[in-house]
């Protein structure tokens, strides 16, 4: 059965003139689908609001107070764990240097210079190794493998950015 234009009138809540109304009534008498469409439309237009049980606001205030308490406790525990964890890590790192802490200033300066030189030479070694690998790699790897490698790096980079973005958005509920 052809439901047009009746289905369109019913779905779009179109304003119809008396002649069209007569046509629609005649169609509704023989078409159970359009009749159901009209009935659901009427039922939808006569919908009512449902109210919550009395005391909703008071219950909300209790929920809010509980949520705030949980949040405060979580923050407190977070701060305590972060502080003590940080202190423990600092102690663990600093323990080998504790002896030199009590030594003369000359020993301090020597240790500092030694550490600086070590850092610079390590960085230089890493850079040199990297440049050697970059120079040698094209002769070992075919061009398509390089493309795959670059794509993989780009993919990992994208995944990393998306993960950071998702992590930053984790506390924002949908619809806010």
């Amino acid at each position: 059965m052809n439901h047009q234009p009746f289905e369109d009138w019913l779905l779009n809540d179109k304003l119809i003139d008396p002649k069209q109304k007569l046509e629609l009534d005649a169609h509704l008498r023989v078409c159970s689908y359009c009749s159901a469409l009209a009935e659901t439309g009427m039922a939808l237009r006569s919908v009512k609001m449902i109210s919550p049980a009395a005391g909703f606001t008071a219950r909300f205030e209790t929920h809010l107070a509980t949520r705030k308490l949980i949040e405060r406790r979580r923050r407190l525990w977070g701060t305590v764990l972060f502080t003590f964890g940080g202190l423990a890590m600092l102690m663990w790192i600093a323990t080998p240097y504790m002896a030199s802490f009590f030594a003369s200033p000359a020993t301090w300066i020597t240790s500092l210079i030694e550490w600086g030189v070590y850092l610079i030479t390590t960085l230089q070694a890493i850079l040199q190794a990297g440049s050697v690998v970059l120079r040698v790699m094209p002769s070992f790897l075919p061009p398509f493998a390089l493309m795959v490698l670059l794509s993989a790096f780009a993919g990992v980079g994208l995944l990393w950015s998306v993960s950071i973005w998702r992590f930053a958005q984790r506390d924002v509920p949908r619809g806010v």
Partner: protein, 203 residues
């Protein structure tokens, strides 16, 4: 500046009492949406409470150029959609839900004909049951359209959809409802036939 905006601004500055006033003002709207979406009073109460808690926690993100009610309903609708999706994955059946009367329908004091009102009520209950079988987002669109009289643009903004997507979702939902309504008629035709009125809706 209207009262509501003043309460929002006070609440944004940390005034909990102002936020309580907003809860009082919008509790029926939010609860009704959650009830129609989830189909049971306890879940609706939980969802409505959660909606207000989320609104409270994200009040600094509220854009004052939007209606506060629309913003709240948007949070509530998304929360209910997520909850329904999670529920679909769980083993428990939605059919086990029951109404225990912890909520109530606002009575129509202007109704002159109790029989007609009872038929209407029965149809509304039937519709409420059929709504549960719609897709979550379609259901949210139908509720916003018919319970809140939202325009397609407002629904699109609330549900983060395009206007054409809202239109097609509404049509799809209306067709699905009509199909289910028809099936329901076939299951118990006699009882329905007696009160079936073959006339077009009042446009």
């Amino acid at each position: 500046m209207n009262d509501e905006l003043a309460w929002v601004l006070q609440a944004q500055r940390g005034d909990d009492e102002a936020f309580t006033k907003l809860v009082e003002e919008h509790q029926t709207h939010v609860y009704n949406l959650c009830y129609r979406m989830l189909g049971e009073p306890e879940a609706a109460e939980d969802a409505a409470q959660e909606t207000f808690l989320r609104a409270y926690q994200n009040l600094h993100r509220y854009d004052q150029s939007r209606s506060f009610a629309t913003w709240l309903l948007s949070i509530g609708a998304h929360y209910c959609i997520d909850r329904l999706r999670r529920r679909k994955l769980s083993v428990f059946s939605v059919d086990q839900e029951n109404d225990d009367g912890t909520s109530f329908e606002i009575a129509d004091s202007a109704s002159p004909d109790p029989e007609a009102e009872s038929v209407k009520r029965e149809e509304r209950d039937r519709l409420h049951i059929l709504l549960k079988d719609l897709d979550e987002t379609d259901r949210a669109a139908v509720i916003m359209r018919y319970w809140y009289d939202y325009s397609e643009i407002e629904i699109a903004e609330s549900l983060k959809l395009t206007v054409s997507a809202v239109k097609s979702r509404l049509h799809r939902a209306r067709r699905a409802l009509a199909g289910m309504w028809q099936e329901d008629e076939h299951r118990s035709p006699r009882a329905r036939r007696e009160r079936r009125v073959h006339e077009s809706p009042a446009f």
